[in-house]
Amino acid sequence: MTVTPEATTTPLVQLLTPEGERLHHPDYDVDLTDDDYRSFYRDLVLVRRIDVEATALQRQGELGLWASLLGQEAAQVGSGRALRPQDFAFPTYREHGVAWCKGVDPLTLLALFRGASNGGWDPQEKRFNLYTIVIGSQTLHATGYAMGIQKDGAVGDSDGEAVIAYFGDGASSQGDVNEAFVWSAAYNAPIVFFCQNNQWGISTPTSTQSRIPLYKRAEGFGFPGVRVDGNDVLASYAVTRAALDAARTGQGPTLVEAFTYRMGAHTTSDDPTRYRLSSDLEAWKLKDPLERMRSFLFKQQIGDSSFIDSVDADADELAARIRKGCLEMPDPDPLSMFDDVYADQTVLLEEQREELGTYLAGFAGGGH
């Protein structure tokens, strides 16, 4: 395995230092109000709280699994807020922060991890596709959707539509993801590929997937790639917004690599102590996306401790609602598993539904 040092030392777009210093960048800059800054912070806090609460619920047996976004809040909130209402997002299974920005109720996400549904929101309405667990496959769906935008003539000016496809560093190795690059380049599709390089695919470091920084992959396909500090919500926002605007105005695809770190386990089933050093974690703690935004608010004096407290109170309320909703969540009707397999139901499934119904009814009456 050859790892060039380049993989970790490449410069990245940053608008906010880990210490909360605001930087300016010639190509990527944003003009935000104090309200904007505060609401960015609020989203970061709420999104983290959703994650913390879900993790706790999993520990208590209320969820089968949870994939934590800890450490990736800025990449998700930054890119999620860069989306305009008409833009469509294709997530993996970890984009709880983007889901939040797109108005998906956290409880529907929990339903999925609880095993009460395999989806649950209307992708068209939310303009946020279902979570996709088979690594990389959603990047092609996103590309196809973007081709559809072109066919509808909905690209070309600043009101145009664009698509964002999320995927991980591990996913970059999948054939599907590279085919999505081929197709998007061939058709010049209005799409942003947003790769959260959180350094790990479960236990596998990014160096097993690529020996050069991932944003450079785009060059091989003939479109631009850029690396952004994924723990910097402002930079994530600015870079994504620029890429989306390029897409919607007909300039084709961009690959954004958000350089970040998965602070938690891969999922609640995982044990990262088996494969990584806690010293890494310590180093990344200093780059925490919430801390740096809070420092910035304090430094700029646009958020005082009463604001911070009010956000925390909102988070408490949200957490309580999630917890209550999860505990009260009904199990699906077993017979509903036959619904919606097809748009036009088949005789076979009607029969099997009846078979199971009769069988379960027999139990109700005393069973075998």
Binding site: P123, V134, H141, T143, D176, Y342, L348
Partner: protein
């Protein structure tokens, strides 16, 4: 009008595109070339490159982007160039396309058609003569159909495109050049119905796609020997139209299934399993299977020995009647 099966498909595609502007055709070499079998001949010229387009050479990409186009509201019709080239798209078909409607609780429809020329008998090199239909008919969430003649090809492709469920559409490539009357004004049979193509009373031959002609020929030959064979053209492989199938076999009390695909765990197994369960007291012989062998498709110089033909069908009929 007399049309080849390939031309009937072409006319069916044209009619579907005319009646719904959201129908798209996509695949490798389907534009200027009109597809390697010319099924899409002239359609790019008439409907433009936006609606009929050549794709990069990547089958997972074809189906994956078709899914995205369907989410956007389009009705993509994908051509897979040959049966043996569908496998790179397998994940997109069985894990993504087949499940999207259920996963979204019905909020996202997947009106995607996957056209696959399939089967052997044309002297082709490897990977060009396969019959992979069982892989798809075993997959929940997909529907699978196969026309056997030009008239069905014309209507079934339109019905498949009109379906809001994903349909794998298997085209019997060795029958592409067979001509028959196609009445474009006729009221079509429902897509999900099998058809008794030739009535008979001694035994039912169950077949689909390329083997329907073989069975009709066998039935004609058997008639000369005084045997009355019924031929059921399944047309739909998933879901099976078991009402029609059951009704036929209940009458004839004997059934032989014929397909080119390998025998083990093929369509014939399912038909045999269900018939022998549902008509347990009524059948007078076990369901017999005349199929390809459980081997990779052989070199074409011996494909005649591999493929079921009239004689092998009659041989099985003899065996069944001997019970």
């Amino acid at each position: 009008m007399q049309l080849t099966l390939a031309k009937a498909l072409n006319e069916g595609l044209r009619a579907a595109m005319e009646s719904d502007p959201r129908v798209l055709l996509m695949g490798e070499d389907i534009g200027k070339l009109g597809g390697v079998f010319r099924v899409t001949d002239g359609l790019q010229k008439d409907f433009g490159e936006d609606r009929v387009f050549d794709t990069p050479l990547a089958e997972s990409g074809i189906i994956g982007t078709a899914i995205g186009l369907a989410i956007r509201g389009y009705r993509p019709v994908c051509e897979i160039q040959f049966d043996g080239f569908v496998y790179p798209a397998y994940d997109q078909i069985v894990s993504q396309l087949a499940k999207m409607h259920a996963r979204s609780k019905g909020s996202v429809a997947m009106p995607v058609v996957i056209r696959i020329p399939y089967g052997g008998g044309i002297g082709a090199v490897e990977h060009h003569s396969e019959s992979p239909e069982a892989y798809f008919a075993h997959t929940a969430g997909l529907k699978v159909v196969s026309p056997s003649n030009p008239a069905d090809a014309y209507t079934m492709i339109q019905q498949a495109i009109a379906s809001n469920d994903p349909v794998v559409f298997f085209e019997p490539k060795r029958r592409y050049w067979e001509k028959a009357e196609v009445d474009t004004e006729a009221v079509p049979d429902p897509l999900w119905r099998s058809r008794i193509t030739r009535p008979g009373s001694d035994l039912t031959l169950l077949a689909y796609g390329p083997m329907v002609r073989t069975c009709l020929d066998a039935a004609a030959a058997a008639e000369e020997e005084g045997r009355s064979l019924e031929v059921v053209d399944l047309r739909t492989l998933s879901p099976l139209d078991f009402d029609t199938i059951r009704e036929s076999v209940r009458r004839t009390r004997r059934a032989v299934v014929v397909h080119e695909a390998p025998r083990s765990i093929g369509l014939g197994a399912e038909l045999a399993a269900r018939l022998s369960e549902e008509l347990y007291y009524e059948m007078e012989a076990p369901v017999l299977r005349v199929t390809g062998y459980d081997i990779p498709y052989p070199p074409s110089r011996v494909e005649e020995e591999y493929l079921p033909d009239l004689d092998r069908v009659l041989h099985a009929v003899d065996r069944s009647l001997a019970y």
